[in-house]
């Protein structure tokens, strides 16, 4: 009796692989024997071949193969399996406590900064969500081109309103002018008030709760305002203030027509009061000027539910093209949804608190730079420790574990450790939160307490971090060959080694950058504090006049023994400056910084007159003279200071004559270069008294000052401080910066040190036998230390080699942008940073290698 063709069967079996085909083979054989009974053996064999072919290409076999690609018992991830993964993960993490701690701590540090960013974003996303019409409110922003200067503004000209109303999709247009910055005169002192000028429809479009008074009527009447409850408390210590009037320092009287609840802080509007737009004088400028110059003007439109934003945008484009065709300034309008304002593109003159996208991106980059190294550490340490886990994986695979199950097991492990780290990060987040908020400019529009939205983001983030950190090791473990793994030959991956080295070098470059920035920025801070400003700053006390008569102040304070001399001025020099426009004899206007002083000012502050004379006492009520600085002379191309004397310039409509030239000094903060500047003499503008003092007991002196002050102005508090402190205060942003860089640097360095520690511990562990044998043969402790650490020392050298030039150059570029008069990066700074980094690295490495080198060889080798 003939047999079915063996070759065909073999081919079929080979092709079927692991798939279950016993029944199919049986069917083939049975058919063969049926055929053999009626046909020749050859035909039967031929039919067998045909049947085999038909099966090979059949859907049935394809399906059976797919089914067998996973093991018979694990065609899916059952709950039981997941529980097992979790248990194995917890056990393995518990077993390697040291590494778990290293990993969890590193990840926690890395995640903590990102939590700040997430909480910030999560809060900013709630901005303006309390307006009932929020889905259909848009603002109009403008891109203004004048000559070569092209800038984006949050502003839009109010003359656009009528054109907007012509569009049938526009339900309402709200006009806002943000220029309400007045000061209220009160018995207890002066209180600044900021707000917006708006029309009654402001309250139709935006949702605010008015508690007293007729809001709509108020906003339609000139010189009437709606005040918020907090502002009312601030001024009157009460909230039922409707009908009261406020005395403004500009001479106007305004009446409070209504009181409203405080605006929620999560809004891009920020105001203490709303005044009626009709209080503002009608614009005097020509219509074309109104289209071109529109400071403080904002437009909001409420569109119909059905309106399409893109259609409206093209309508705006059309208006822009028609209107600006013949004007020298071009403005393109852009529609921006209410939700996009708070976290939108960078715009100038935003109406209230705003979180610029660029700042957010920088912050996000910093977060990533801190977080990624922490993830790298995990990846590094996990792969390095593959040897320890290889047997487990080999066994799992032999018993039917498939690639994706191993993958899933290790992902589970990573996610477990990430969540442990996440709890740590949350704790750090709680401690960092307040400090962080202090550093932000718009921090009073921010509330970082935990919300549901935030919790959701946090959890998602923790999961994502786990996936990022775990995906590479999990893939690696999943792909291990079980036979090699069981033979302990799994750990041969040279490419994985290289990746690890690159990652480590990257971390240390980053750490080096932070150390160098810290060194250079603290140098810059010291440099600014000790800078020679060109004037005396010692032993001078600044007293704010707060509306009292300069002459009276002078009389009272000069009675004190500690006061040697006294000068008056309009501002504190070196902190900020004001500009005005002047015209020369050819009627060319230029912007120049200026300041009002009296005749004692120049000698008292130690300024040097290069030519001409000082102001004279009793200059009279009308201004006549100015004293200019060297730069002024140079910019007007006057050959020598002496030639400038007697020239006249038109300042705010008055001809003023130059009577003196002073040597250049830093009237502005060091951030700005010295430009044209002049002193002028007008007692009406004095707001500060400067006292030259000589005392050993500053406390007693200030008590004297307070007593004198009480005679002058009993209701107000004395506002006096040392000039030097005021100046130093102006550079306190460096303290914030140093704090921030220091903190971030600490995080980055901690993470890289942790990573290094993990790697070294691992090396010391795996090379324990080698070290012991060498020791038995007489190697010294120093030799052994070098043997174990040389690989890492090499990496550190690499990091310094790459990091030093790159970061030094970056900081060199940044410094003058931060401050015009700045220090530079010196070789010493770089050297100090290198020493710090190497010291940290070497201490870390040797703390572990030394332990290994000192170990008793008998302990290690006993098991052999």
């Amino acid at each position: 009796m003939t047999q079915p063709p063996k070759l065909a069967r073999k081919i079929f079996e080979w092709f079927a692989g692991a798939a279950f085909v016993e029944d199919l083979l049986g069917d083939l054989d049975e058919l063969y024997f049926i055929h053999v009974k009626t046909k020749s053996a050859f035909v039967a064999k031929w039919l067998y071949w045909k049947a085999v072919l038909s099966l090979i290409f059949s859907y049935a076999l394809k399906k059976r193969k797919a089914k067998r690609a996973v093991s018979m018992y694990a065609s899916s991830l059952s709950a039981g399996l997941l529980r097992n993964y979790f248990k194995v993960a917890v056990r393995s993490l518990y077993q390697h406590k040291y590494f778990t701690m290293l990993n969890a701590f590193g990840l926690a540090v890395g995640m903590s900064v990102s939590l700040l960013l997430l909480s910030l974003i999560s809060y900013v996303q709630t901005y303006d969500n309390f307006h009932a019409n929020r889905h259909n409110i848009y603002t109009i922003t403008s891109e203004r081109t004048e000559g070569v200067e092209q800038l984006s503004w949050a502003l839009a000209p109010h003359v656009l309103t009528d054109k907007l109303k012509e569009n049938p999709n526009v339900k309402d247009v709200v006009r806002i002018n943000s220029y309400f910055r007045e000061t209220v005169k009160l018995p207890q002192g002066l209180i600044p008030l900021n707000g917006y000028y708006v029309e009654p429809n402001f309250l139709d479009v935006f949702t605010y709760e008015v508690t007293q008074g007729n809001a709509k009527y108020t906003l339609s009447q000139p010189n009437q305002i709606i005040i918020t409850e907090t502002a009312a408390q601030k001024i009157f210590n009460a909230t039922d203030v409707v009908g009261k009037t406020l005395n403004l320092t500009n001479g106007h009287l305004v009446e409070i027509g209504a009181v409203m609840k405080d605006r929620p802080i999560n809004s891009h509007f920020k105001f203490e009061l709303l005044a009626s737009l009709s209080s503002l004088p009608q614009p005097q400028a020509s219509v074309s000027d109104q289209w071109m110059y529109f400071d403080f003007q904002y437009l909001y439109v409420l569109l119909e539910q059905t309106a399409s934003a893109s259609d409206f945008q093209s309508y705006l484009d059309k208006i822009s093209v028609e209107t600006y065709a013949k004007l020298p300034v071009k403005v393109a309008f852009e529609l921006q949804h209410l939700n996009d304002i708070a976290l939108g593109p960078d715009l100038r003159m935003a109406i209230g608190p705003k979180w610029e996208a660029s700042g957010m991106i920088v912050f996000a980059i910093i977060c990533t730079m801190i977080l990624l190294p922490a993830c790298f550490n995990y990846t590094n340490i996990s792969i390095a420790r593959a040897l320890k886990r290889a047997k487990e994986i080999g066994l799992r695979k032999t018993l039917g574990g498939v690639k994706y199950q191993i993958f899933f097991q290790f992902i589970t492990e990573t996610v477990v450790i990430t969540f442990i780290a996440f709890i740590g990060a949350l704790v750090m987040f709680y401690f960092m939160r307040t400090e962080f908020q202090k550093m932000l400019v718009a921090s009073n529009s921010l509330d970082l307490s935990l919300t549901v939205r935030m919790a959701f983001y946090f959890l998602l983030f923790a999961l994502g971090t786990g996936l990022v950190a775990g995906v590479f090791p999990a893939l690696y473990f999943g792909g291990l060959n079980p036979i090699q793994a069981l033979k302990n030959k799994a750990h041969k991956g040279s490419s994985a080694m290289r990746v690890r080295k690159v990652l480590t070098v990257f971390q240390f470059v980053l750490s080096f950058g932070f150390i160098l920035s810290l060194v250079v920025f603290s140098k810059q801070y010291k440099y600014s504090l000790n800078f020679n400003f060109g004037f005396t700053k010692e032993n001078i006390v600044n007293v704010e006049l707060q509306g009292t008569q300069p002459q009276l102040v002078k009389n009272e304070f000069s009675k004190l023994a500690s006061v040697q001399s006294m000068a008056m001025s309009s501002q504190v020099m070196g902190l900020g400056y004001y500009n005005t426009w002047i015209k020369d004899s050819e009627e060319d206007s230029t912007e120049v910084a200026h300041m009002y002083v009296d005749e004692n000012y120049i000698p008292m502050f130690g300024l040097t007159l290069l030519a001409g004379t000082n102001f004279q006492e009793e200059a009279g009520l009308t201004e006549k003279f100015i004293i200019v600085n060297e730069e002024f002379v140079k910019e007007y191309k006057i050959p020598a200071p002496i030639d400038a004397i007697g020239k006249t310039y038109k300042v705010e409509g008055t001809e003023l004559q130059v009577i003196g030239v002073v040597k250049n000094f830093h009237y502005a903060p060091l951030r700005y270069p010295i430009k044209k500047f002049f002193f002028r003499n007008n007692p009406k503008k004095f707001t500060y008294a400067h006292l030259k003092v000589n005392t050993t007991d500053a406390f007693a002196m200030f008590t004297d000052f307070e007593n004198q002050w009480k005679k002058l102005s009993p209701e107000q508090k004395l506002d006096a401080s040392f000039f030097e402190d005021d100046l130093n205060e102006g550079y306190s942003n460096y303290v914030v910066l140093l704090k921030m860089v220091g903190f971030l640097g600490l995080l980055a360095i901690t993470i890289s040190i942790l990573g290094l520690l993990g790697m070294v511990v691992y090396t010391a562990e795996t090379k324990a036998r080698e070290v012991s044998i060498r020791k038995v043969f007489g190697a010294s402790v120093l030799n052994l230390n070098y043997l174990l650490s040389k690989e890492y020392l090499k990496l550190m050298v690499w990091a310094v080699g790459i990091g030093a030039p790159v970061t030094a150059y970056l900081i060199y570029l940044v410094l003058p942008r931060m401050q015009y008069y700045s220090t530079t990066v010196s070789v010493w700074d770089v050297l100090i940073s290198i020493v710090i980094l190497l010291a940290l690295g070497i201490v870390t490495v040797w703390s572990q290698t030394n332990k290994a080198a000192l170990a008793n060889p008998a302990d290690t080798l006993r098991s052999e």
Binding site: L25, E30, A51
Partner: protein
């Protein structure tokens, strides 16, 4: 979801039902050939069966190894409740169409 039942699928289902306890690969193929004069390859048959199993119309079990199969077991098939429903539905659609047909359908 209503699953579509192809013509061959319907035939295979009915054949399995007709064969009762003895429905496995070879017997189904032979029966189809004898009764319906349909000669299909074993690959095509098993593909159809696999599809029917996926649709949940068939269930199977192993057993009945014989000498002429080289001692290999057979895979027996049985029609499920859902399978029964599907064929009955297919039949009722046809019956309805028959009863509604306007022209006289008869073969002379």
């Amino acid at each position: 979801m209503k699953t579509y039942l192809g013509e061959l699928e319907e035939l295979v289902l009915l054949t399995i039902a007709a064969l009762g306890e003895e429905a496995y690969g070879v017997s189904i193929q032979q029966d189809l050939e004898e009764r319906c004069n349909r000669s299909i390859s074993i690959g095509a048959l098993h593909s159809t069966i696999t599809r029917l199993e996926e649709k949940g119309f068939l269930k199977s079990w192993l057993g009945g190894a014989t000498q002429e199969r080289g001692g290999r077991s057979k895979r027996f098939y049985e029609i499920t409740q859902a399978g029964k429903k599907a064929v009955v539905e297919a039949k009722s659609v046809r019956d309805e169409l028959w009863s509604l047909s306007k022209i006289k359908l008869s073969v002379k």
